[in-house]
Amino acid sequence: MVSLDRRELLTLAGGLGAAAFSGGLLSGCQSSGEGGDLPSLGDAMATRIDYGRAKAVPTICFGCTTHCGVIGWVQDGRVRQIEGNPKDPNTQGAICGKAQGVIQATYDPQRIVYPLKRVGKRGEGKWRRATWEEAMTEIGGKLKALRDEGRPEELIFHYGRDKTKGFTSRWTDAFGTPNRLNRRSICSSNRRVPLMSMYGREFEWESQDLERTNYVVNFGGNPMEAYQGGLFMIRRLMDARVDRGAKLVTFEVRPSATASISDEFHTVHPASDGAIAMAMAHVILREGLQDTAFWNTWANVDLDTIREQVKDYTPEWAEGVSGVPADDIARIAVEFAKAAPACCTMSNRGSAKHYNGVQADRAIRMLDVLVGNVGKPGGFCLSTLRMWKNRYGQWGLPVIDQPGPKPSKPKPWRPGTREFEILPAEVQERVAAFPEMWQKKYFGELATPSEYPLSWHWYNMRVGQLVYPYIREGRQKVGAYISYTLGAAFGYPEANVAREVLMDEELVPLHVAIDISYSEQAALADWILPDATALERWDAHSTNNYGLRPYTGIRQPLVEPMGEARPVQIILRDLARTIGGGMEDHFDFEDLEDYYREWYAEVPGDWETLKREGIWTDPERPLDHELYLREVPADELVNHSVDPETKIVTADKGAKRVAVGIELDGKIVRGFDTPTRRITVQEPLYPLAAAHVGLPLDDINALELPTWGPVPEHVDLAEDRFVLTTFKWNVHTQGRSAGWKYSSEIVHTNPVFMNPKTAVLLGLEEGDEVTLTVFRPAQHTYRAGEDEPVGTFTQKVRLLERVHPKVVAVSHHMGHWEQGNVARADMETPSKGEAGFGTECDADVTDRVWWSKKRGGSGGGRHLNDALPINPTPLVGGQSWFDNVVAIEKV
């Protein structure tokens, strides 16, 4: 292997350009073999894309969780370029840099493309290539035994990134386990719960009408870099600002890209977003700027109660909490209200991932109800989330659902069932005292943790970060564990706990990882089964549309999977067939295209058109404004009656009696899909849940009305204590993108960002190395109140104005020790899992990772998440990522 030092390499590259690398000067594959038809991605001129013969095929991106309609250019059987699909009404044809990452992942020479079986000890990194037949026989045999022995719930299927839209739950249902686990609590449950509580199950994500808005108040959201659905917002926000003069106000703890492009950016103390929102509500009511008619019609609580509730939350008070001048808060509140209804709030993890984050989002969301912008043009809109089945708001649309026969769901674990009787005594006691609405949804401590009933009241969001502690505590016995596209061993808080549990063969007798590449999670598996990338597979797609019109898209394979990689649907089908016992009846298909054609049978137009366009929508359909005012169609009003008090309209639906709408001005309209058909501003579920799990009823999370209260461990924060916040970079997607060479070339390490004032206080200078010691949360969560720190993190300091002086900020993507050369920034230490590599060659990966430490670069950053505490928010379970109290010491 030719080796150049970093400076030589850069000089060569800069001076001669790409041509210097042609002709195999620096070529070198880790595996021998034919090398593919693209000799080296550096060999630019010889392999330029010929758009005269390349074929453009639409599909859906999977570079992150936003899922944009894209078009791939395929030449000589390879995807060479990705563009936006102009037919996608959600993206309006836009893409971002992460779309290119899917190409890099597909052709990564260190991608796993053959099944691997562990040959050394678990975690030792020794593997041999296996056949699919061997994998299916051995894994299927062990899973069959679990099922035959009548303990199917001991199969845990835990995913990090599953967008099969019901396919994997079909498989776990057919197997008979409720333990299909996810990472919702890691991501977004704290922001989904306020929305579902207020607006109903269907609206767990909002779709602000940014094409028509004039004023946006953003509480810690960062759509320009991260944010599920961010790309749907970027173009609309920038068009609104630049072309129409709309104003974007952002409250943030650090200068994110979104904060930086905002018309107003206020640096705030962490977890003070709710305080600002409460003060804005105070001002709006004080100035009489609320929409009283809207409130009186739609809120489930009277305005005087809210007046009383916000009475003490003055802007002056909020200034003390947040650091934002009182005059600015008051002015922003007035500007916001005067822009109504073409104004909206926006928020995401910045406001929600705190101990007080659920309440913060409730307070923020209340502002939209106060000014009456809900559902209005330019306002806080709620677009039909997806087109599957009959859901609220989607009447008159084709039903898109997977083909039958679908398996039945597992039965709840009620007192008396075998599963219930083996639960720990205290859990049994708690669950037995639950109201019926929860008992009928209880499926054990992993799927429905009894201490967090609001994590599964609406649907099973689960509390992923507690899965490993719970397994260790014996709350759920594990017979087999399937990690699907999961990076818990790297990316979960206290990731070391995940690794310890996965290493323990008593606790986890069989661990199968299904993923695209080798990872910290796969490293602890007994089997690695190679999945297809987004460019090689089928998936159904639909999500809420910021263009406010329901749509669907199809992910389709542009190329065959590399090596012997297989789409997860085929892997699960074949496992089902091996397991047998009737399970295979639900996977009776040979060809995935046939399966998805049937799935989309009701979509107007023919299948070939859908494949060619990539997207279906009905451009004639009215926009999703004011869905709550739509009249309920007559066929839903079977034997209907109107409650004289509440005006709620109920009707027969099959054998059931269900609420279908609300009577308003003599008409029966849809209303909201909540128990009152109104907007739940006052939510009795919070104190109810608190009472059942022993959370004090005066805790902020237990209160019925939106409120602000401090994060307990932030109260009287000592002068030498700070709050550690984590964040995402625009070119990365959690821990999954570190192997994308072009993304990691741009961002590959993770300094400690700090305000220069803080550095002066601590006697630090730019580039000094510091150790952050992270402490546990104060109360009512996992291991709260323990004195022993969770862990430490050592990295260099980078000074940045506009980081809040009490905050240090570190990105969490970096510091991989498994995966390939690019993710590890190390070309000298061989990548593990080599037996699973294919025949791809890429000299970038083998010779040009110039930031490698051994080549004089900075290296690939350091791993942070072992030092971050497992910290679920009470009742809901969302990880409070941004509450971490730290001490800072110069190394």
Partner: protein
Amino acid sequence: MSKMFVDVRRCIGCHACSVACKTEHSVPLGTFRTRVRWLPEPGDGRMTFLPVFAETCDLGANRAEHGLEPACVMSCPTKALAIVDDAPPESRPLERKGDTRDGVVYRGHARWQEDAMNAGVSLSPEDPDPIYEQW
């Protein structure tokens, strides 16, 4: 003659252009043909973004042959980049341009950003963005 027009007010620093260009031309690690620079505003600290183009950039000649926009323009989610025949009003080239190519006009950029380019901010990955630390 065609020019690259950069509307700096619209750029969000997302690097879609930096990366799409690398995909398009199989640009090896260690060099960029186009790259967005993140530059903290002096005295304020908020980030500003300036896409810059290397001498090697040919404004997407292989795509233009087929009536397609350059990969950077195609990939820009905020329409900050465009190929134009005439420089739009209020646009001008960078007066001090560091190592960047001619034939690019900018609108909405600040003098201090040009100063930064002249002070050595370049396209080279060896020259890190202040925010993307690369020691």
